[in-house]
């Protein structure tokens, strides 16, 4: 009786497994034959009812059946798995993934960050100051005499006789010098305002980064060294540069730093007005009057200051023709950086 069943099951399994085409179907077979309540286990249960003397023989037959079914099962499973890995699945992996938006800082912020990190590496602190300033901090303390034409260099927005929108970040220099004792090594990024007609080349506000170094024995030679180092870090190591004499009321001697135009390589183009040079910053030795105004003895200490415009720098670096686009905040523009 049980022997017949064993033979029958063996035949049925061979029949079943020959028609299996997928791992799913194979799994159904595993459940049918090999699971806890499967056919093979049921047969083993029936072993209990077999007379004692027949048990070893029937037990061997059952074991053989189980081994045979398991081996066959594993062979077919291996075949199917191998086949499965080379068969195309029924899903379209070429469909797009769910993309996420990563934000970004404004390109002007990114430019300031880059400048800040270079100076941070040279041991500079960072300070900020108010944009609505008094005439004293913006002009007087910086050695702009009242009624001097030097004031015309910076068209000023006033909110009252003595208060104005700062025209440069230099008032932060005064605030820092008054608050901290030398040695001072600091940069001062910030927003400044000029009462200029808005056009592609000029806007009523822009951003600057200024720097200030005060210590004993600070020289013009060192000012040059620091700024050349900065320019090489920022614009590239192979640049050529020059320092031109200039005038700012708060520095003496004063200079402007030019680098070779990196649009035309110094041959002369529209961007550099055919001079081959691009002005990148103004600088100079802090005027003794400014030191005195800030309570620093100019015979003991000397120092230098410098300042650069961020918009201009970014326009040159990223080939932006119209300054107004920075402040329109067109999403299509913001997403480019």
């Amino acid at each position: 009786m049980i022997l017949e069943q064993i033979t029958f099951v063996s035949g049925e399994f061979d029949n079943d497994i020959s028609s299996v085409n997928s791992l799913k179907e194979l799994e159904d077979l595993r459940i049918k034959y090999l699971s806890r309540n499967g056919i093979v286990s049921t047969l083993f249960e029936k072993l209990k009812e077999v007379p004692k003397e027949d048990k070893p023989a029937i037990g061997n037959k059952l074991n053989a059946l189980r081994t045979s079914i398991t081996d066959n099962f594993n062979i077919v499973k291996a075949k199917l798995e191998q086949k499965g890995s080379t068969t195309k699945l029924s899903i379209d992996l070429s469909l797009p993934g769910y993309q996420r938006q990563i934000g970004s800082k404004h390109i002007l912020t990114q430019t300031v960050d880059e400048i800040k990190s270079i100076f941070k590496g040279m041991g500079f602190s960072t300070f900020e100051g108010p944009e609505l300033e008094s005439d004293y901090y913006n002009f007087e303390a910086l050695n702009f005499a009242p009624d001097h034409p030097a004031r015309d260099m910076q068209d000023t927005y006033f909110v009252s006789k003595d208060f104005l929108l700062r025209t440069h970040t230099s008032p932060v220099q005064v605030r820092v010098m008054k608050k901290y004792k030398p040695p001072i090594r600091a940069i001062m990024p910030g927003r400044v305002y000029r009462s200029e007609a808005v056009s592609a080349r000029s806007y009523c506000m822009f951003h600057q980064v200024e720097g200030l170094v005060i210590d004993t024995d600070i020289t013009f030679a060192e000012l040059k060294g620091t700024l050349v180092f900065f320019a090489k870090q920022f614009y590239g190591n192979d640049l050529k540069y020059r320092f031109r004499a200039s005038f700012f009321p708060f520095t003496e001697p004063s200079a402007e730093m030019d680098i070779t135009c990196y649009i035309c390589g110094g041959k002369g183009c529209k961007i550099c007005k055919h001079t081959g040079w691009l002005e990148i910053l103004g600088c100079g030795m802090v005027d003794p009057n400014v030191l005195i105004n800030c309570g620093i003895d100019p015979d003991l200490y000397s120092g230098y200051a410098f300042g650069m415009g961020i918009e201009r720098t970014a326009m040159l670096k990223y080939n932006i023709q119209d300054i107004r686009i920075f402040f329109e905040n067109d999403f299509r523009f913001l997403k480019q950086f």
Partner: protein
């Protein structure tokens, strides 16, 4: 300022200096050459032509057909000028020439059937003058074929030089020549002045008096009689034309020429128009009007320095002459004014009148008080020469207090101390002397210098050091790289802002930078706005009072471009008036740094396998809370909710610490959206950055041990009355649980008819654990069942499900 190199050559010999080198050194020394214009290049292919033949045009009465020779070639040219005649030497523009006036190129043409190979030109066509009456007839001695630029002395090079406001001494050809003489160590030649005086004594012809000697420290004068007013000779007209001035008449042209030669502004009065033949220099005491020579009535402030005759004002001192004493065609006797005025007085007047002239530009920067007489002599010489006049005997020179040289001590050691380089002694001496600075005394350590008053910018030792440095050349000072290691404390006042920006970016926000200058409606929306006294336009006449209006403008613009899904942030300063109306101290206003997050449109666009998710109030809250979590403020800040509409929001919430509102936000009201022409929902939240910063937990951050025991999660759902809020339930659960409940989160909320009209279901996920041990089922069941009872009882809520 325009400088002609040919003109410059009269004062310094630059023949042997290559042009590029000259331009470069001028620029490096501080006289920045902004533009160079080579005149000869503009007249290429324009030569002296000889009209060999002139015939009538067969088809046109007003045209003639000429044969023009350039020596070795002959050209047929059709000409329309009435004054063309055979035998003339004329200006001939060959094919390919570019005509300056109109900037067009000459090409072969056919005029009424006759071919023409070039053009004969008038003065106006070459922009030599405004004369377009006919052909320019040249001197017959000129060689045909010679380039016109050579023939007419048009081979000059013109420089546009930017002069910084500290350098009035360089606002003339002689002044620029002085710098060149210092740079190249060349001799500087003052123009030769030869005066031959008549017998008439000046004091009999005119009288001068200064009442206001503070504003007019010196007034020098010459008188020239019997002058014929006429056109200036070519050399003078050309000199002025090149530097951008329009020739007027010999007398006016001479005053302009001398100003651009020596830097001293001059004025020529018609002596016969001066009542009493007298000049009185005085300041006005009351407001008055005066007609300047451009025929405009000028309103003068009290205290304006005026040049008057014995009856009336005749000129605004240092700014512009009056119509009533102007030199005219009938003038014969000239009084030349060459004065020194106080710079700040002239600047005030010029500013007040919004009237800047070449004269006021120089006076307000500071002219040379020593140079007045030389300039008067130079002008008298030229006026007499060009107008056939006689120079009266003597001068009138009122100079009550002589302006002395400034004495400056230069410590040699300071040069190296400031520059970091020891400029050779010979160079120092040479530079100072070439610049007109006299060395009075010297020792091994010091130079005693005497600086003449034409350099008002040189007052201190440091100014002298700059002169030495700029002439010696900044490029000749070495570049020293120093590496600093200092233990001084480092500050970074922008670190927190950087942190905020980085966090916003990590959440997917883009940074915007808006103009803080706004229109009145935008600025007044959110605060007590401060007005600019001198705005460029009404669109930019007020300071922003919050970041909201600027952000809404950006949202509005972007939606119009089709960018409808936006996550933007900005960090910037905003300005509000305190109670006072005018701003006279820092207490009258406040300037705060704000940080705004603004969202609109879809958080997620529809995708092939995903529905679109619009931003809503809870998106905003979630983003804001993400910030608070990042800055460890979850348990520090308290939320309040406002269901009623205010000026900005339909509904809103704020975050407080104690009573300080550190941020507020919500759904922008329909009314405000309408103001900004936006037709989709917008949510924003604005933080006060300094309050946010002060709310930050102080002290060091510490590591927390990671949990070693399992967390157990349980859910429950209740049917509540609709009036019960989420925050009430959460607060109750938190308050009534023991320490084992570590977190509770709402995961489902719904209302339906089956629940009843005033009911809603809220389901919560609870998380239990103990940091010291594994919790048993019994402990959790006890805690969980206690919460079920407590919530049911407290809210009269029915437990669902089980």
């Amino acid at each position: 300022m325009k400088i002609s190199l040919n003109w410059l050559k009269q004062y310094v010999n630059i023949e042997n200096i290559p042009l590029d080198d000259l331009l470069n050194k001028l620029t490096l020394s501080g006289l920045e050459v902004e533009d160079v214009y080579d005149e000869s290049s503009k007249l290429k292919n324009i030569v002296v032509g000889f009209v060999k033949e002139k015939k009538k045009h067969p088809n046109a009465d007003k045209l003639s057909v000429c044969i023009v020779s350039t020596g070795n070639e002959e050209f047929q040219v059709v000409c329309g000028a009435p004054n063309v005649e055979a035998g003339q030497k004329v200006i001939f523009a060959k094919i390919g020439a570019v005509i300056p006036n109109g900037n067009y190129t000459i090409s072969k043409a056919k005029l009424r059937g006759v071919e023409s190979f070039g053009m004969l030109c008038s003065e106006s066509e070459l922009e030599l003058s405004d004369d377009h009456s006919g052909l320019k007839i040249l001197d017959p001695s000129l060689q045909e074929g010679t380039p016109v630029s050579d023939a007419l002395g048009l081979n000059d090079v013109l420089l546009e030089i930017g002069i910084t406001p500290n350098r009035p001494d360089a606002l003339s050809h002689y002044g620029v020549a002085r710098d060149i003489s210092a740079i190249y160590d060349l001799e500087l030649k003052f123009p030769e002045i030869r005066i031959s005086e008549s017998d008439q004594v000046i004091s009999k012809l005119a009288e001068i008096e200064i009442e206001d000697t503070v504003n007019c420290p010196r007034y020098s004068s010459r008188v020239v009689t019997g002058v014929k007013i006429k056109e200036s000779p070519v050399w003078l007209k050309e000199s002025l034309r090149k530097i951008g001035l329009r020739p007027i008449s010999n007398v006016v042209d001479v005053t302009n020429f001398v100003m651009h030669e020596l830097g001293q502004p001059l004025h020529a009065f018609d002596l016969d128009m001066l009542a009493g033949r007298k000049i009185i220099v005085k300041s006005t005491s009351v407001e008055s009007t005066f007609k300047t020579l451009d025929s405009k009535d000028r309103k003068l402030a009290p205290g304006t320095l005026m040049i008057c005759d014995s009856q009336k004002p005749v000129a605004i001192a240092g700014v512009m002459g009056g119509e009533n004493s102007e030199v005219s065609q009938n003038t014969t006797n000239i009084l030349i004014e060459s004065a020194y005025f106080n710079p700040s007085g002239i600047r005030k007047t010029s500013k007040y009148l919004s009237l800047g002239t070449d004269a006021s530009y120089r006076f307000e920067r500071g002219t040379d008080p020593r140079g007045t007489l030389l300039a008067a002599n130079r002008a008298a010489q030229l006026i007499a020469q060009l107008g056939d006049g006689q120079i009266a005997k003597g001068v009138i020179d009122i100079y009550p207090a002589i302006i002395k040289d400034k004495l400056i001590t230069l410590r040699i050691s300071r040069i190296e101390k400031i520059l970091g380089y020891n400029v050779p002694k010979e160079s120092i001496h040479q530079i100072l002397q070439r610049l007109g600075i006299k060395i009075q005394n010297q020792s091994s350590s010091e130079l005693q210098l005497s600086v003449p008053p034409f350099r008002p910018d040189l007052e201190r030792e440091i100014d002298i050091i700059e002169e030495i440095a700029r002439i010696y050349g900044y490029d000749n000072i070495p570049t020293v790289e120093k590496i600093y290691s200092t233990l001084a404390k480092k500050y970074d006042e922008s670190a927190f802002l950087d942190n905020l920006k980085n966090t916003a970016v990590s959440l997917g926000f883009y940074e915007m930078i808006n103009n803080p200058l706004q229109s009145a409606p935008s600025a007044s929306l959110t605060g007590n706005e401060i007005a600019l006294l001198n705005p460029q336009s009404q669109d930019m006449a007020f300071l922003r009072t919050s970041l909201i209006s600027g952000a809404l403008e950006v949202v509005s613009r972007n939606i119009k471009h089709g960018e409808k899904n936006l996550m933007l942030f900005e960090i910037g300063n905003v300005f509000n008036k305190n109670n006072s109306d005018s701003i006279s101290s820092f207490n009258d206003f406040n300037e705060k740094t704000k940080f705004i997050l603004i969202i609109t449109g879809n958080e997620r666009e529809k995708e092939w396998n995903f529905p679109q998710t619009p931003f809503d109030f809870y998106s905003l809250k979630g983003l804001v809370n993400s910030f608070n979590s990042k800055f460890l403020l979850d348990n520090v800040l308290n939320d309040s909710y406002y269901f009623t509409q205010n000026r900005i929001f339909d509904y809103s919430f704020d975050k407080k610490i104690g009573n300080d509102v550190i941020g507020i936000g919500g759904k922008i009201s329909q009314q405000v959206l309408k103001q900004f022409d936006i037709n989709q929902d917008v949510y924003c939240f604005e933080y006060d950055v300094s309050l946010l910063q002060t709310a930050l937990p102080s002290g060091k951050r510490h590591y927390t041990d990671l949990l070693k025991f399992p967390k157990v999660l349980r859910d429950f759902a209740f049917i509540f009355d609709k009036s019960v809020t989420y925050s009430q339930v959460i607060e109750h659960i938190n308050n009534s649980s023991s320490g084992l409940l570590k977190s509770v989160k709402i995961f489902d909320l719904f209302e339906s008819d089956s629940l009843g009209p005033d009911k809603k279901s809220m389901a919560f996920a609870l998380e239990f654990y103990d940091i010291d041990k594994t919790l048993t089922e019994e402990e959790i069941d006890k805690e969980f069942n206690k919460l079920i009872v407590s919530v049911s009882d407290n809210f009269n809520a029915k437990l669902r499900g089980n």
